[in-house]
């Protein structure tokens, strides 16, 4: 068989044939020609199991780089520790910064990782690294976490967006994207407005016409797609097929649909409102939602910055976890707090902390996570990782493992195999449930 048949393995060749043989020719779902479906056909049991569980990820992205000292890895009383105290939590022996009092009472849902050593302390490079889970090389356009999750956990015929990214703030705003996975997994990217662009029917066309016009388009397009076995053509049909569903999901983005009590529960800030939108989306089956809260890049006035932003994070994150739990969604939703890097132990002349990627923290809560666990350890002043060093790829492997996605899986770009996590990276079983 030809080497170009996907990855060249006999197994894939067979699935490819099965795919065209059953799905395409039978005309069941004419627009399913994407890699996910092929994978699903390759291992239908696993694939359908994942879909049934409806797992989701909410990424709280702390753009600019939050300080581990003022959040998850406090060093009170040390020269590098800053002025804040560490406080006890609902988990004996675990302390976090006093700036997160609400989260301190919810650590039983959460694992703290204190041992990221990712080496890239540049905003652009660090962002790409932590978004993609690996150092980006020019040869390959890697997908980011959102696109990977959308591909692994999204349904091909989903009626809702499968990757929503909210980035209202100007600092570090970055769209990310699907890379080689293709536009099917591109984010619905929200910046100025919380309503996705072009989601509303224009007033110039009545509802019935809008629907029937789409039906006509589909009918006419079918003839073209029928005998052309091409994934790009299929994606065109799939994109148009999803229009009506996505339009119907407009209300998901509207927090006015929530009772005032729910809105009060989350709080009035933009970040807190977006946490509420994230919950609405996840509840409706969106597999990946990113909420970016920026301005953590505290080169000046680190402590005032964290006093302000940690209050925002503490309220938004704890409300989100409580709400997910109450709705029975926390077991299937993984909430991640992550940034491009952490901040220096040294306190600079502007009472700021600068970029630091050698020993910093992130958290994983909910789905597949052993709550109350802490992984890794930094030295007393937080200069370096003393125990359990993790790279970006190890974090990604852990995220996939928590979600039940095979972290050893490979994609194929032409003939080139691309492992879903970077070479040699492994999950950390200690924090997995």
């Amino acid at each position: 068989m030809s080497r170009q048949n996907f990855c060249g393995s006999a197994e894939h060749g067979v699935s490819r044939r099965t795919f065209f043989g059953t799905t395409m020719f039978a005309g069941a779902t004419a627009f399913a020609a994407n890699m996910r479906v092929m994978d699903a056909l390759k291992n239908p049991c696993l694939a359908s199991e994942l879909k049934r569980q409806q797992k989701s990820v909410i990424l709280l992205w702390l753009g600019g780089g939050a300080s581990q000292f003022e959040t998850w890895d406090p060093k009170p009383g040390r020269p590098t520790g800053g002025p804040f105290r560490a406080i006890s939590t609902d988990t004996p022996s675990v302390q976090i910064s006093e700036l997160l009092p609400k989260m301190a009472q919810r650590l039983k849902t959460t694992a703290i990782i204190r041992s990221l050593n990712t080496r890239n302390a540049d905003h652009g490079g660090g962002t790409r690294l932590m978004e993609c889970g690996r150092a980006v090389e020019q040869a390959v356009d890697y997908p980011d976490l959102g696109a990977l999750i959308a591909r692994e956990l999204g349904r091909a015929d989903s009626q809702v967006p499968d990757y929503v990214s909210m980035y209202s703030e100007t600092e570090g705003r970055h769209k990310g994207g699907p890379g080689f996975l293709g536009a099917r997994y591109a984010p619905t990217f929200l910046t100025e407005s919380m309503i996705p662009p072009n989601i509303r029917r224009p007033e110039s066309i009545p509802e019935v016409d809008h629907q029937e016009r789409a039906d006509l388009q589909k009918l006419l397009a079918k003839r073209f797609a029928e005998k052309r076995y091409n994934a790009s053509v299929a994606s065109h049909g799939m994109a148009y097929e999803r229009v009506r569903g996505i339009m119907a999901s407009e209300t998901l983005f509207d927090i006015n649909q929530e009772p005032q009590s729910a809105r009060d529960f989350y709080g009035p800030t933009q970040f807190q409102e977006q946490c509420l939108i994230a919950r609405r989306l996840v509840e409706a089956g969106v597999p990946f939602v990113k909420v970016a809260r920026a301005w953590w890049d505290s080169h000046g006035q680190n402590f005032e910055t964290h006093l302000e932003l940690c209050a925002d994070l503490d309220q938004g994150m704890s409300a989100l976890l409580d709400d997910l739990k109450q709705r029975g969604l926390l077991d299937s939703t993984l909430v991640i707090t992550l940034a491009e890097f952490g901040r220096t132990p040294g306190i600079n002349a502007s009472l700021g902390r600068d970029h630091f990627a050698s020993a910093w923290s992130c958290t994983l809560s909910g789905c597949g996570i052993k709550g109350g666990s802490v992984y890794g350890k930094t030295d007393p002043d937080g200069h370096k990782v003393e125990d359990g060093e993790m790279k970006a790829g190890d974090l990604f492997a852990t995220i996939f493992a928590a979600l039940g996605v095979d972290y050893k899986k490979e994609y194929h770009l032409g003939a080139r195999p691309i492992p879903i996590v970077d070479f040699g990276c492994k999950p950390v079983p200690e924090i997995l449930a």
């Binding site: 293709g182 994934a231 790009s232």
Partner: protein, 546 residues
């Protein structure tokens, strides 16, 4: 006198140049027409594999495909129908000749080269695009353009624009090295930066850093001119941890020794200061030109007989992929011994032909689009699985580039009388220039299609719900298609006109019936027409070149 002119030692490495895989004597005759050579080699493989290729596409499909490829837009109804109705036996040859000679070709081929050279680059580079346009109009050959782009001439404003290729990448040595290698030699050496290539024996760290050495001295002055330093070398740590100074080395292993030049310490210091001034002072005079230019050497070495295989094969493969939808070697940047061509002899033949014809790309384009392989239908009607794409047995469907799509939408949605390329001459060129510029804004909303291209739901939402789009393209004013067909009294005529305008063909009976049925149900007839035209404008049949 501080300078001693040394001998430039060019050492031909004993490492085999894997590029030539077939003995020249075994290749088909050099005087064969390009299209004949293509069809001979493609057919040979099909016969060997016992694959019956798809038939030649119908006239409508062919005129659309070729016009999109050579003019960057769909044909007008008049252009298409003239071709379809012609009974001349050599009408396809004439079509290709006409298209190649048209004003549109220069724009389209320029756009293709622009994508090839600057595809991943952000920001405007209008002067560079102008340079490309002029080059295509003069049929400047590829080796000459390579010289222009890599060496350039900061004093000649026209050729200065060409160095934009280097200038926009000059701040990142890795990017400049790898993208030059990828674009011009079809070789992605980036893996070899950190280690000898894991999968491919061809590329070692010495190759990566050897290639980088040609660019190490390149810098951009404060005035945004391209210049080179007097000295500078690339140092790297080998995988075994040994510190090493890279030798300027081409991919074939050919190395270049810099002439030994004695320079006094004072002079060196002055040179360094001059360079520093150039980098910092926007009022500095012209940049000093060192006697030895590594970039010039790279061009010289890369174009040497034998070494020029890389340069020739890379562009042959890329031009092939432009028109056939994938390279003979695929992916395009993986031309190495571990990833052989689907048709090695054809690649060799075409490369030899290109070299023998002084890198005349337009001649190559003409040959490719005249081949049978290019002209097959993209439909696979057999009950068997479609043949592997690298057999070129059935035409590959290719997404339109953002510019092609934008211009084609504009044409398709216009009153069929609005554009008349047949007037030719300056009048049409002006019109075409306008079309090109007016299409830019809309084109910018789309990403350049890469491998595994997919249409995202954002695009479908834009076309479905963006009032601006609907108002502009499906407007019923006189200058628009809807405006034109609403004057027509017969519904079948309306449907037929719309099909020709948007999809370059007549509708089938079924399609007429479907549209009829749709229009029938509308209480507001013009709105119905607008919706029908919308359904055609958003068809995959318009979105792709098929």
């Amino acid at each position: 006198m501080h300078q001693v002119r040394g001998v430039i030692a060019i050492v031909l490495s004993v490492a085999c140049v894997w590029a030539t895989t077939v003995d020249a004597a075994e290749l088909a005759a050099p005087d064969l027409a390009i299209e004949q050579a293509i069809d001979q080699y493609i057919q040979a493989r099909l016969t060997e594999r016992q694959v019956q290729p798809a038939p030649i596409a119908d006239d409508c499909t062919l005129v659309r495909r070729t016009t999109l490829d050579l003019q960057g837009r769909i044909p007008t109804i008049a252009e298409a129908q003239t071709y379809v109705q012609s009974n001349e036996p050599d009408k396809r040859l004439k079509l290709v000749e006409r298209l190649l000679a048209s004003a549109d070709f220069a724009y389209q081929f320029r756009n293709q080269l622009d994508t090839l050279l600057m595809g991943g680059q952000k920001g405007n580079h209008n002067e560079f695009r102008e340079y490309l346009l002029k080059s295509v109009r003069q049929n400047r050959h590829w080796d000459q353009m390579f010289r222009d782009m890599l060496i350039g001439n900061e004093d000649d404003p026209e050729v200065k624009a060409a160095t934009t290729f280097v200038r926009v990448r000059a701040r990142e040595l890795d990017e400049l090295t790898n993208e030059t290698s990828t674009v011009f030699f079809g070789v992605n050496v980036s893996c070899a930066k950190c280690h000898d290539h894991p999968l491919v024996d061809d590329w070692k760290q010495d190759h990566y850093f050897g290639l980088a050495s040609f660019f190490q001295r390149t810098y951009v002055t404060k005035k945004n001119n391209l210049a080179e330093k007097f000295s500078g070398e690339v140092k790297f740590k080998t995988t075994k941890g040994v510190d090493k100074v890279a030798k300027m080395m081409f991919l074939t292993g050919t190395t270049v020794d810099e002439p030994v030049v004695e320079v006094s310490a004072d002079e060196r210091k002055k040179q360094d200061e001059d360079v520093k001034k150039q980098m910092q002072d926007d009022k500095a005079g012209p940049a000093p030109k060192p006697p030895f230019s590594p970039r010039e050497k790279l061009v010289e070495v890369a174009l040497q007989p034998g070494n020029d295989q890389f340069f020739a094969r890379a562009i042959v493969n890329r031009v092939w992929a432009m028109y056939l939808g994938r390279g003979l070697v695929h992916p395009l940047d993986q031309m190495h011994s571990g990833n052989p061509a689907s048709h090695p002899e054809l690649l060799d033949w075409l490369s030899r032909d290109l070299i023998q014809h002084q890198f005349d790309l337009q001649r190559l384009v003409r040959g490719i689009v005249l081949s049978q392989a290019y002209a097959r239908t993209s439909e696979w009607s057999e009950s068997t699985e479609p043949p592997a794409p690298d057999l070129f047995a059935v035409a590959l469907v290719r997404p339109l580039s953002p510019r092609q799509y934008s211009m084609s939408l504009r044409l398709a949605s216009s009153n069929p009388e609005a554009y008349k390329p047949e007037v030719g001459g300056e009048e049409w060129q002006k019109r075409r220039d306008e079309l090109e510029r007016n299409s830019e804004g809309f084109a910018n909303q789309f990403e350049l299609p890469g491998e595994n291209f997919q249409v995202g739901v954002d695009e479908a939402l834009l076309f479905s719900n963006n009032a601006q789009f609907v108002d502009d393209y499906a407007r019923d004013s006189q200058d628009r298609l809807v405006g034109a067909i609403k004057q027509q009294t017969d519904r079948t005529t309306q449907i037929t006109t719309a099909y020709w305008a948007a999809l370059t063909r007549a509708p089938s009976t079924d399609e007429i019936a479907a549209c009829n049925q749709y229009l029938e149900k509308r209480t507001e007839p013009v709105a119905g027409l607008r919706q029908m035209v919308w359904a055609l404008l958003t068809s995959p049949e318009l979105r792709f070149n098929h």
